[in-house]
């Protein structure tokens, strides 16, 4: 394995998401294989729009800190770069700052010193307006409509950086890179492409690595993956000896969370897997060759945005009475009418009907699939109802939930005469605070791959380093 750098480049991916964890012994085995770089993705849109909208993180701070500490210690011990992308789930500026503080806190505790590059991905609204007016923002179907109003309403808009901003930081001497929103694969493809490895090899290896051990046959828990990149192929193997990669498991991985399993679009072009060959090298490692990269005519950066949809309150209740269950659609239709009438009585003109949303989810009927549910007959002896009120303020949403509760509680059915109590509520209503929606699936064409992603340089533990040198 100790061939010169020119012929081989080795990459360790500790886990699929920083904060989801990995087994420490697997990570140590990975380090023993002498990687040239450690890479880790730290974000996704998968947890939902609330993280880009609110700036919170999907994984807990303590869990992110645990993973980050081990990665920083490992990278500094070997003297190799650590690259973390999509900081703090959505990779907006506040989340980049959150990761920077964690890095500095760990460095101080562990007496580490290194040159840190912080790459921003949050987009300046004036920059986006100018690009929009210049016709350089275009939809990525299926995309919601986009105009300057979308830019104005967004809480945050981030650009998903490609490999180039990482390469610029590496060339600038970064020992640790913490980046805002980034293509998961760019984190891993940046160094091999910089060192002259074919882009088809680099991007495909990156696609496997970015999910950690997700591509093994027998995944037990989030864990490490390792790749050896060579001039005409790459090899992947999980450091944990209990985990196996097979040609089928590695080929299957290109399906995961991707709309098209053969053509994966990056800023600078498309990874084409139609000619990829997967061979078992051992019973737990796979050799991949034949993957190609087609450079794009135009460099594009995907944008992600989130805007506030309003404030929400919810009420959870259940129904056990078979008389109500057998007429649940009629009962909820009548209930909605009663709620709207009561809201009009309480608010008058101050809350027009189009200013709030009322949703009733019926679990036990079609709570999961809604109108797409093919099973129409209810076989449940009980139903769970979730009532959602979304309104311009929390106070109004909360008021609506209180109205919903009282209306639902006593809505009569013809089978019973007298006052009924129709809903079993385990809790009072819950105020959820602000809720958000994704509102951008567009790409922007920059003049330069790095212009949207400025870098801050930080000399972490600089004083300690100077003392040691003295």
């Amino acid at each position: 394995m100790n061939t010169p750098l020119a012929d081989e480049l080795r990459i360790l991916s500790p886990t699929g998401v920083c904060g989801s964890g990995f087994i420490e012994s697997s990570f140590e085995r990975g380090l023993a294989l002498q990687p040239h770089v450690i890479g880790c993705d730290a974000g996704s849109t998968d947890p939902g729009p609330a993280y880009l909208g609110s700036g919170r993180t999907a994984f807990p701070r303590a869990a992110i800190r645990r993973d980050l500490r081990l990665m920083l210690l490992g990278a500094r011990r070997l003297g190799i770069p650590l690259i973390v992308g999509s900081a703090g789930t959505a990779g907006a500026d506040g989340q980049l700052q959150f990761m920077r503080e964690l890095v500095e806190e760990i460095a101080a505790e562990e007496k580490l010193s290194f040159r840190l590059a912080l790459i921003h991905a949050e987009q300046d609204k004036e920059y986006l307006r100018a690009k929009f007016r210049a016709g350089r923002i275009t939809p990525l179907p299926p995309a919601p409509p986009f105009d300057e109003g979308v830019i104005d309403r967004s809480e945050h808009i981030v650009g998903m950086m490609g490999a180039e901003p990482f390469q610029r930081a590496l060339e600038g001497g970064a020992e640790v890179i913490i980046a805002g929103r980034a293509s998961d694969t760019a984190i891993f493809a940046a160094l091999p492409i910089l060192r002259g490895f074919p882009e088809g090899i680099a991007w495909h290896a990156a696609k496997i690595l970015e999910c950690g051990a997700a591509a093994v046959v027998n995944r037990k828990t989030p864990d490490c993956m390792f790749a050896w990149l060579r001039k005409d192929h790459f090899v992947v193997e999980a450091p944990d000896p209990a985990l196996r990669c097979t040609p089928q498991s590695i080929a299957s991985h290109s399906l995961y969370e991707n709309a098209d399993p053969f053509r994966l679009i990056e800023c600078s072009g498309t990874l084409d897997l139609t000619q990829s060959r997967y061979e078992a090298l051992t019973d737990r490692s796979v050799k991949v060759s034949g993957s190609r990269f087609e450079p794009a005519d135009r460099y594009t950066v995907k944008l992600e945005g989130a805007e506030k949809a309003g404030y929400q309150s919810i009420l959870i209740g259940s129904i056990r009475d078979p008389y109500i269950i057998r007429q649940i659609d009629d009962w909820t239709t009548r209930l909605k009418d009663k709620i709207h009438a009561r809201v009009a009585m309480v608010y008058g003109d101050k809350l027009p009907r189009d200013q709030y949303t009322l949703v009733i989810r019926i679990y036990g009927k079609n709570g999961t699939m809604g109108p797409l549910e093919p099973v129409k007959e209810i076989r449940s002896h009980e139903l769970c109802l979730v009532f959602e009120a979304t309104a311009p303020t929390q106070e109004i949403a909360s008021t609506l939930a209180q109205i919903i509760r009282h209306q639902a509680l006593h809505l009569p059915i013809p089978e019973w005469s007298g006052l009924i109590t129709a809903l079993a509520c385990p809790y009072n209503h819950l105020d959820r605070g602000a809720v958000y929606r994704f509102n951008v699936n567009q790409v922007v064409a920059p003049d330069d791959p790095c212009e949207m992603f400025p870098t801050d340089w930080v000399d972490v533990g600089g004083a300690a380093r100077k003392r040691a040198a003295a």
Binding site: D46, P49, P142, L255, F262, A309, M369, N441
Partner: protein, 102 residues
């Protein structure tokens, strides 16, 4: 006839970004994969009908080296929006399970 769920090792659905939903139907053996592929029981048109779409809105793939069939559709509601009921898109595959395969 055999239900697709009995032939597959895994049928799953998942977000492919906030605006698309993707289905993976994966098989343990090439034999089972080819049986389903050649039967025509699972096609772009069948997926479109299950999810109330026009066939042109469905992306559909046979992945021979993975022994897998894949389909992607526009999300019924944008992920996390007020009408969305499944933020990760993980429980939308059930209607594919009982497709009958000759």
């Amino acid at each position: 006839m055999t239900a697709l769920a009995e032939l597959a090792r895994l049928i799953r659905s998942k977000n492919a970004g906030p605006f698309e939903l993707t289905f993976d139907i994966m098989f343990e053996t090439e034999e089972r994969y080819l049986r389903v592929k050649k039967s025509g029981a699972l096609s772009r048109e069948v997926v479109a009908a299950k999810y109330g779409l026009a066939p042109a809105d469905v992306k559909f793939f046979f992945c021979d080296n993975a022994y897998a069939i894949k389909a992607s559709i526009p999300r019924p509601a944008i992920q996390g929006d007020v009408l969305d009921s499944d933020g990760h898109g993980g429980q939308q595959y059930a209607p594919l399970m009982d497709i009958e395969v000759p």
